[in-house]
Every structure is written in structure tokens, then in C-alpha cells.
């Protein structure tokens, strides 16, 4: 579904992504891990159009989407959440999700219905009229997720969704992710919390200093010496 070929991204003299090649199958949940600064968020930014790569191509469902502006990429069917949780601070939960739903809905009535569905699906219905700025951490993350899936994406990019959550909250999210997959959405998940990613991912790609140093099933990656070396000092959640 998503093919990344020879992607390189530089910031001045710093090479953030070096000749990255990646292949995501439809219906997959791909984990993307790596130490801080390895280029995970940069990769997301390149895919979603917030950064333009120096070389390489990004092909989504057979179409070259390299360098397209973010809103066009969202229209093509790729949605994302942000590592530093973003929200429409002065809008309520309902309004925020509605804004996402408006992308595909043909009128406000339909958008309303989609929003209702998603609020129930994520459990945010209890917080319907709370301002996004006043939410708890987990609700804010759920909101980011909710707005993203309101755009009915085919591919969903999640950036450190469970950072800072309690184990109970993490289980909530795991269930949500599985439900989303049931609905036919492919996902790439960037995560530091190992327990989460090991449990949820079909396959894991490991990024280190802008290069892919390993790819495979969770069990394989866990034992990979290069991966362990890259993470030297990192604790497992």
C-alpha cells in the first residue's frame, strides 16, 4: 500500500533520513521504533507532506505523493496524530471531531452522524462539550486519534500515542487500535513503549540515525543484537 523508495531528508548538514526503503502492506500494523532522534517523526513528516525529502519517492496505492501539501495527502487517505499532542484548544471535543469528519461528509448532517459514531467508538462521548484544552492526557490523545479517523483514512500514522499513559489506559488504546484495524485501516505506529508495540504490531521496523537497521516480527526484533545495541540504555516499559 505504501512504498518508500530511497528517501533522504537533510536539515542543513544533518542527515535525518538516509536512503530509507520501506514497504507497508494493506491491513498491516507496522511498528516503527528507534532511539530518540533516529528520524521516526521526520519520516512521518515526509509521508504526510510537512517536510519535503531531498531525494526518494513516496508511493501510496500506486500514486507518487512525494512533496504534496499536507491537506492533499489527507485527502488521498493518510491521516496522522502528532507526537506533541495537537488540539483545537478553543473547540469542544464534538467540534474538533466534526472538523475532521467534514472532509468526507457531503454535508453537516452526515458529518454529525460520523462524529457521533466516532465519539461512541472512542468513549469520548462523555466529554462531548468539553473544550479540547481542558481534557486529560488520555482524552486528548483519544481526541487526536478520533479527529484523524473522522477523515476516514486508509492509512493511519500514530506518533507516540501511549507515551505517558498508565498501563490500564494503554490497554484501552490497544483495544481501540484493534477495532480500528477491524475497520480496514492500515497503520504505522511509532512508539517507545515496548510492551505496547510488541503486542500490537504485525511487523516492526527499527530506525537508527536515519537508517533502517532491522525489520521483522516482534520476536525477531527483540533478540536482534544490532537493535539492542542501538537501544543501549533504553528501558523496556
Amino acid at each position: 500500500m505504501l512504498k518508500i523508495e530511497n528517501l533522504t531528508k537533510r536539515f542543513g548538514g544533518l542527515i535525518a533520513l538516509n536512503n530509507v526503503n520501506l514497504n507497508i502492506e494493506k491491513g498491516e500494523i507496522r511498528g516503527l521504533i528507534g532511539p530518540n532522534g533516529s528520524g521516526k517523526t521526520t519520516l512521518f513528516n515526509c509521508i504526510t507532506g510537512f517536510h519535503h525529502p531531498e531525494t526518494g519517492r513516496i508511493i501510496f496505492e500506486g500514486e507518487d505523493i512525494t512533496g504534496l501539501p499536507p491537506h492533499k495527502i489527507a485527502i488521498k487517505g493518510i491521516a496522522r496524530t502528532f507526537q506533541i499532542v495537537k488540539a483545537f484548544h478553543k473547540m469542544t471535543v464534538y467540534e474538533s471531531i466534526l472538523t475532521g469528519a467534514l472532509l468526507r461528509a457531503k454535508d453537516i448532517k452526515e458529518a454529525r452522524e460520523i462524529t457521533l459514531e466516532i465519539m461512541e467508538f472512542t468513549g469520548l462521548i462523555k466529554r462531548r462539550d468539553t473544550l479540547a484544552g481542558n481534557l486529560t492526557t488520555i482524552d486528548r490523545k483519544k481526541l487526536g486519534l478520533a479527529s484523524a479517523i473522522a477523515t476516514k483514512p486508509k492509512l493511519l500514522l500514530l506518533d507516540e500515542l501511549v507515551a505517558g499513559l498508565t498501563p490500564g489506559e494503554i490497554n484501552e488504546i490497544i483495544k481501540l487500535i484493534r477495532d480500528i484495524r477491524e475497520n480496514g485501516v492500515t497503520m504505522i505506529i511509532v512508539e517507545h513503549v515496548m510492551k505496547f508495540i510488541m503486542e500490537i504490531a504485525d511487523k516492526i521496523t527499527v530506525l537508527h540515525r536515519g537508517e533502517i537497521i532491522g525489520e521483522g516480527k516482534p520476536e525477531e526484533i527483540a533478540g536482534n543484537p544490532k537493535v539492542i545495541e542501538a537501544y543501549l540504555g533504553e528501558k523496556y516499559a
Binding site: H71, L103, A148
Partner: protein, 348 residues
């Protein structure tokens, strides 16, 4: 799963929160505004009322770009002036009724708005860069008109005084028609505003104001929507320019295009409350009477010019310091038992 919440059409009606419970107040106010007030007011107060209506209108037009979309433009006097000059020159040189001139003026204003938007939004100018750029863009227009012979250069244009006429958009025996026209303009723009707020456009503009990147990631073409806001705001502002030209019957670059006018236009929304319906109106109700009264009484009798702006300036400063969200927050506290911002109640 049990559907606990029914989605009513009223769920979108968050504007009701902003205007106050319509119930009995709205029709009463409307009746007062249309019948009682204009009749009982003496000429000077009628003039003040007209100014309040005009600046409420202008503030609302600005608010579409400034309050709702979060783009702090400081150059709306250019659109105002373009409206004034277009209708005036078409009237004087081509005998076209100012009403038609008004519409044509809005086209030019929209065009210049598109230009300003294209320039500032294309290059991603934000924050103070955007503000300064809009000032520069409006100043350029003013300079062009100061040098334009057919537009009367710096001396401006005096409109010919004709007997009361609707086609010529001039009334002298009484200012009442101006009052009703201004009132109609204000009510119309409020209706337009409400329609926008409850539409996809409204949601998208507010989203852009709160977080542009997030908006883009949800498929919103921020450039396109900012342009739409700019163009609508510009066109609507220009109508006010024509009105002013027909009311005062004299226009010049100094009176219809200076930066000070842009400041005066946005003073209302800022003092009253950005991004709300009543904000610009409350702001105008506060600022305009101060302006007019100090000018009429204090300036005429004591010869001290400028006092009104001192007062207005102090007001803005106080508001900025104490309640950046605007006076409307105080009014909301009075009207409702709980403030809107912290309320998590359902519906209205």
C-alpha cells in the same frame, strides 16, 4: 449500544450561546431598534447610533478574518477606501447609482483582498510579520490614491449634494434613512456571520485559527480558506466604505484610508471580544459614543482634540491587561450562571 444522545439541529446553534437566550430578548431588541429608538433620538444621538451601527458592521466584517480565522489584519482601511472611492467616482464620472457602485466597489475590494491574501498567505507570513505586511499593503493603496489625479489626490473628492433620493443614496431632511440602511447592513452581516459559523467554512476557519498544522493534517487547505475569509472580509468592509461616502459626502485618502481607520475598525472586536457575534457590537457601543461625545463636547468647547482617542487607547490597554478575551466575558458572566469557557454541560 444505546444511543444516549440525540443530535439535534440545535447542536450546531452554538451561536445562541454567544447572542444570549433568544426567547423574548431578541424580538424585543429588534422592535426597539427598528421603531422606538430611531424615532425618539435627537439628530446628534441619531448620528452616534449610525456610527455605532457602522462600526459594528465593520468590526463584524473584520472579525471574519481576524477573530474567526485568527489572521490579524491591520489594513482594512484599504478595502473601506476602495469601496468609498469606487462608488463615488462611478457616481460622479459615470452617473451610476451608488448602490450599484457599492457592488462594483466590493469586486475591487475583493480583488485587492485576494492580492493581499495571495501575497501574505503564499509566503506564510504569520504573527507580527503578517500584521506589518497588511499595514504596508494598505499604505501602498493610500499612497497610490494620494498621487492619483482623477481621484483628487490628497484633497479627495467632494460629492455633489442632491435633494433626498434613494437612487442617489443621499438624505438630508432627516438622517433616518441612513439609520435604517445601516441597521439593515448590520442585521444582514450578522445573518451571514451565523450562516458561516454553522457551516463547513466556519468550522474550518476556527480550526485554522487554533492550529494550522493540525488543520492541514485533517485535509483542510489552509491557504484556500484563509483566502476565502480575506476576500469575504474585504468585500463586506467595502460596503461600509460606500455607506460612509454617501453619509459624509466627502472622501480623501486621509479620511477613508489611513492606518488609524484600520485601528478603529478592529478596536471594536478587540474590546468587545474576538470571534464572537456580539463582540464587535459591544465594542462599537463602547468606543463610538466615547469618540463622538468627546469630539462634540470636549473638543468643541475646550478645543482639546484627541481626548477621545486617549480614552479609547486607555480602554484598549485596560482590556488587553485585564481581559484579553474582551468585555463579552463579563457580559457572559452576567447572563449565565456559569461561564461558557469552563462549562461542560450538554447543548445550550
Amino acid at each position: 449500544m444505546k444511543k444516549e444522545y440525540k443530535m439535534k439541529k440545535g447542536d450546531e446553534m452554538k451561536w445562541i450561546k454567544k447572542i444570549g437566550k433568544p426567547g423574548i430578548y431578541l424580538p424585543l431588541t429588534l422592535i426597539a431598534l427598528t421603531t422606538i429608538i430611531p424615532i425618539i433620538l435627537p439628530p446628534f444621538l441619531l448620528h452616534v447610533a449610525i456610527m455605532i451601527l457602522l462600526y459594528s458592521y465593520l468590526g463584524t466584517a473584520w472579525n471574519i478574518l481576524g477573530g474567526y480565522t485568527g489572521q490579524f489584519a491591520w489594513g482594512h482601511s484599504a478595502f473601506f477606501g476602495i469601496g468609498a472611492y469606487t462608488s463615488t467616482t462611478l457616481y460622479i464620472y459615470h452617473k451610476i447609482s451608488p448602490w450599484i457602485g457599492m457592488l462594483i466597489g466590493s469586486l475591487f475590494a475583493a480583488g485587492y483582498g485576494a492580492l493581499c491574501g495571495a501575497f501574505t498567505f503564499r509566503f506564510g507570513l504569520k504573527g507580527h510579520y503578517f500584521v506589518i505586511a497588511t499595514i504596508a499593503l494598505s499604505e501602498i493603496i493610500r499612497i497610490i490614491f494620494i498621487n492619483w489625479a482623477e481621484m483628487g489626490r490628497a484633497w479627495g473628492i467632494l460629492l455633489p449634494v442632491v435633494p433626498d433620493s434613494w437612487i442617489d443614496f443621499q438624505f438630508h431632511t432627516t438622517k433616518l434613512p441612513y439609520y435604517y440602511i445601516a441597521l439593515t447592513m448590520l442585521l444582514t452581516i450578522i445573518i451571514i456571520e451565523i450562516k458561516i459559523i454553522n457551516s463547513k467554512l466556519g468550522y474550518y476557519l476556527t480550526a485554522i485559527r487554533d492550529d494550522e498544522e493540525l488543520s492541514e493534517s485533517l485535509g483542510i487547505n489552509t491557504f484556500k480558506y484563509k483566502m476565502i475569509a480575506m476576500i469575504i472580509s474585504a468585500a463586506l468592509t467595502s460596503f461600509g466604505g460606500t455607506f460612509y461616502a454617501q453619509y459624509v459626502l466627502y472622501i480623501s485618502p486621509e479620511t477613508v484610508m489611513p492606518v488609524g481607520l484600520s485601528t478603529e475598525i478592529l478596536m471594536g472586536p478587540i474590546i468587545g471580544g474576538l470571534g464572537t457575534i456580539m463582540g464587535p457590537i459591544i465594542g462599537a457601543i463602547i468606543v463610538q459614543p466615547i469618540h463622538e461625545f468627546t469630539r462634540a463636547y470636549i473638543t468643541t468647547y475646550t478645543g482639546i482634540a484627541g481626548l477621545d482617542y486617549v480614552v479609547a487607547g486607555t480602554l484598549m490597554l485596560t482590556v488587553a491587561l485585564l481581559q484579553p478575551k474582551g468585555v463579552i466575558q463579563y457580559i457572559n458572566k452576567i447572563l449565565y450562571s456559569k461561564t461558557i469557557i469552563t462549562s461542560s454541560s450538554k447543548g445550550e
